[in-house]
């Protein structure tokens, strides 16, 4: 077992790779009462085409999400029944890039870990229950369709992406769901739910030696089979959009806008910390400490908050802004003017660094937050960013200036719900 120590903070994560290839990351904290276990699959809804040993497979949109729903099914009843007996809370969620199963409890650590491990290792998909699930997922799709904040994101993804599979909803559409079969679920499971494509993160009050002992015992009779990780087909995404502007009518009091810029990732120098720099640029220029937000608030150009986000995807980077306004053109012009003329002061960068470091320390108090931090590191780079404190400390104005020069506002989408 390896102990991964964080720089500058007296905290460490224990790591072990099991014989099945399953990796385990553990952050024990005896000061809290509860533990939180996540079983993470490095596959999400954007996987629609893949290849194993020259054989090509296709998944219908929504298959990975459907699979997550049906994983809880057992020969008799559901895994929920077992967790309920332990007084534990269990859930799961699928994103565009990964799938997570989670359990939180303060008792019966061994049983919780065993049940979680076993139900994910032994899928039971039955035709009748797969068909029943379609009505439930249809209701889930309808629920998010009725939610304005979700709807504006769905529409923006459709406008922004030409080939990239983010254009599909994580859940798929009702028509996609109707066509998903039990065999589709087994195919997806076999391809992506292999232990070598998964990892467990455990945080909170537990004994890390006991945890590894339990997992090793579960794998005692495990026959190691060679695993060929599927080659997922990702079409190149052009730096243009499918539709620049769309207006939807929902009769809401203040029009809601989602403005998104699509940037060519190749223009940015490869850097593991690019996401941190992009966040810093947006925080300094658009957060509640910025001149920009003060201006648009005092001029009553927006109602409520200005939300912003950035994400680095396979072929491109996006920067998005969501706000409620009666002055769409004016706000967009101001945002573009700001993005094209970013100036960062040293004192602002230092202020942001201080905040990032403090938030990082805070996260160790929260068994869910620290679990997510660890999982996000693994998804992003396959290893824990144990030097994150130093990375924050070493953010430089020069590097920020280099990145801001690459930001432009040429390719964009504007989605309006009014």
């Amino acid at each position: 077992m390896k102990a991964i120590k964080y720089n500058k903070i007296p905290e460490k994560v224990y790591y072990e790779k099991l014989k099945s290839g399953l990796e385990v990351y553990m952050y024990p904290n005896k000061k809290v009462r509860n533990f939180y276990i996540t079983y993470n699959i490095k596959a999400g809804s954007t996987i629609l085409d893949y290849q194993i040993d020259k054989k090509k497979y296709k998944l219908k949109p929504g298959t990975m999400h459907f699979l997550e729903h049906k994983m809880f099914e057992e020969e008799k009843g559901t895994a929920f029944d077992y967790f309920a007996k332990l007084g534990s809370s269990v859930n799961a969620y699928t994103t565009s890039d990964n799938t997570t199963y989670e359990v939180i409890s303060n008792n019966h650590f061994k049983e919780n870990l065993e049940i979680l491990y076993n139900f994910i290792s032994n899928p039971v998909f039955k035709e009748t229950s797969v068909n029943k699930e379609k009505d439930i997922i249809k209701e889930e799709i309808e629920m998010y369709e009725n939610d304005i904040d979700s709807k504006i994101i769905f529409e923006t993804e459709k406008m922004l992406n030409i080939n990239d599979n983010h254009k599909h909803k994580v859940s798929g559409e009702t028509e996609d769901i109707k066509k998903i079969t039990k065999d589709d679920l087994y195919n997806a499971y076999d391809a992506f739910y292999n232990k070598e494509n998964s990892f467990i993160v455990i945080t909170g009050n537990f004994n890390y030696l006991e945890a590894i002992g339990i997992l090793k015992e579960l794998e005692r009779d495990y026959k190691v089979k060679p695993y060929t990780k599927p080659i997922t087909k990702k079409e190149k995404e052009p730096i243009k959009v499918k539709e620049e502007r769309k207006v939807l009518t929902k009769n809401i009091s203040t029009p809601k806008i989602m403005l998104t810029y699509k940037l060519d990732k190749n223009k940015f120098k490869a850097d593991n910390n690019l996401n941190i720099y992009l966040d810093a640029i947006l925080d300094i220029n658009f957060s509640d400490t910025s001149d920009f937000l003060e201006l648009i608030t005092n001029e009553n150009l927006i109602v409520g908050d200005l939300n912003y986000n950035t994400e680095i995807r396979d072929n491109y980077i996006y920067i998005s802004f969501t706000f409620d306004t009666f002055y769409e053109n004016e706000v967009i012009e101001l945002i573009e003017n700001k993005l094209n003329n970013i100036v960062i002061k040293k004192e602002d960068l230092n202020m942001i660094k201080r905040g990032y470091k403090a938030d990082f320390i805070r996260s160790f108090d929260d068994i869910i937050a620290i679990n997510e931090n660890i999982a996000n590191d693994i998804y992003a780079s396959g290893e824990i960013k144990s030097n994150i404190y130093d990375i924050y400390d070493k953010l430089t104005i020069n590097k920020i200036n280099e990145i801001t020069k690459k930001i432009n506002t040429k390719v964009k989408t504007i989605c309006v719900i009014n």
Partner: protein, 415 residues
């Protein structure tokens, strides 16, 4: 974890000393009797107090100061408990050993926000007032524009439009529009003067020293003698009110409201939370979830909310318009089934509720909330609660189930 009370002339300081967390929390609680007008005023006031003050005159300046206090977080919120409005204004901050700041800086920052509002000529700043009004109005509109929230709000309004539970907590748009900078300042003075005040702090501090520092900064000069009412009156049993609110392009949101006959303190604090876990609020294994979703594929989600101090139980789900009658029928069936729950179901619910209470012990904010409710006489301490929950019997649940009656069915959608 050590709890301690420091009695001061105009307030009590309640402390929880613990080295469990890497953060600390300091919170001032204000209690005033509920009126709809006060609820709107207080919403606006706490937004003003937490966004600027006499020292940091703009929201931007104040937020920069917070960032420099290592991303400390100032917050304000008001919760209505029956006929009492409880406003908390607090600051969350990182353990000072990781910083170059002192606890005095944190305490001063919070007290300045409360005692040094940005006032000129006995008025709040007009521009900020307008901004904060707009934000609140947007919150109100967002709530009404969410089908789930709107359906619950409309259902409560139909049940009794004059009761506090039928009002939106962020305020009433007409009342907000009528608030001027001067009127808000008058309200501020009334609020500071007439409210009951308590202060809470949690963290790894020398609490004697904290008491001394706080007592130097706090400028309250009055004690409230108000008798606070924490429960609304029971709603009498009557014929079920059935309402459909047509709305375009929206799946049917169904809201069922139940009330109950006189409950003992034991039933309110212990039996009802367990009943509700089994009935509809507990994880993905409640009776409503199993019946509506797992067995009949009617919905993605269903939840029940126990509004203890309003003496209501609310069920919400979203369904296809053609499933409404079946869903109502099944909800009624599930309530009847609550009269014959098994020991196993109850034991599972007890484990779940104990897990939830243990989560409270891992969260500073919830520890303070719990301490506050204990001081109000509404909750026992956590360890005692765990012990009493363990003793609840199936007979208690059955007796409670017999006291619950459906009084309103509201659907919104399918125009």
């Amino acid at each position: 974890m050590k709890e301690q009370t420091f009695k001061n002339d105009t307030y009590n300081l309640y402390t929880i000393k613990t080295g469990k967390f890497k953060t600390g929390l300091l919170e001032v609680e204000f209690y005033i009797p509920y009126t709809e007008v006060r609820e709107s005023y207080i919403s606006l006031l706490i937004n003003m107090l937490t966004s600027e003050n006499k020292i940091y005159k703009t929201s931007k300046e104040l937020n920069k100061k917070l960032k420099n206090l290592y991303n400390a977080n100032i917050y304000g919120e008001t919760n209505r408990v029956g006929e009492t409005l409880i406003t908390s204004i607090g600051i969350e901050f990182i353990d000072l050993k990781y910083t170059d700041i002192k606890i005095e800086d944190i305490i001063k920052f919070l007290m300045d926000s409360i005692f040094k509002p940005n006032i000129k000529n006995d008025e709040f700043n007009e521009e900020s007032l307008l901004n904060n009004k707009n934000k609140l109005k947007q919150d109100i509109n967002d709530l009404i524009e969410s089908p789930k929230e709107e359906s619950i709000y409309r259902a409560l309004n139909i049940l009794d439009k004059d009761k506090p539970f039928s009002k939106i907590a962020s305020g009433n748009i007409n009342i907000l529009d009528s608030i001027t900078p001067k009127k808000l300042y008058e309200f501020y003075n009334w609020f500071i003067q007439h409210s009951k005040k308590d202060i809470y702090i949690i963290g790894d501090f020398d609490m004697e020293k904290i008491n001394t520092i706080i007592s130097r900064q706090v400028k309250f000069n009055s004690i409230s003698t108000t008798d606070y009412k924490f429960y609304l009156d029971y709603i009498p049993f009557k014929k079920v009110i059935k309402t459909h609110i047509p709305k375009e392009n929206v799946e049917t949101n169904l809201v069922l409201i139940y009330t109950f006959k006189f409950l003992s303190d034991y039933e309110e604090e212990y039996v009802f939370p367990l009943f509700n876990l089994i009935f509809g609020s507990g994880s993905l294994n409640s009776k409503l979830y199993n019946t509506l979703r797992t067995e009949n594929n009617l919905c993605y989600n269903v939840s029940s909310i126990y509004q203890r101090y309003d003496r209501l139980l609310i069920v919400h789900t979203q369904i296809d318009k053609n499933s409404k009658d079946l869903t109502i029928k099944l909800c009624k069936k599930v309530l009847l089934e609550m009269q014959k729950i098994s020991d196993k179901e109850l034991e599972d619910a007890k484990k779940m509720i104990i897990m939830s209470l243990n989560l409270t012990l891992d969260n500073e904010e919830r520890l303070i909330d719990n301490y506050c409710f204990k001081n109000m006489g509404l909750l026992d301490n956590l360890e005692k609660r765990i012990e009493i929950f363990k003793k609840v019997d199936t007979k208690d649940i059955v007796a409670l189930a017999k006291k619950i009656k459906l009084i309103s069915i509201t659907s919104l959608g399918d125009k």
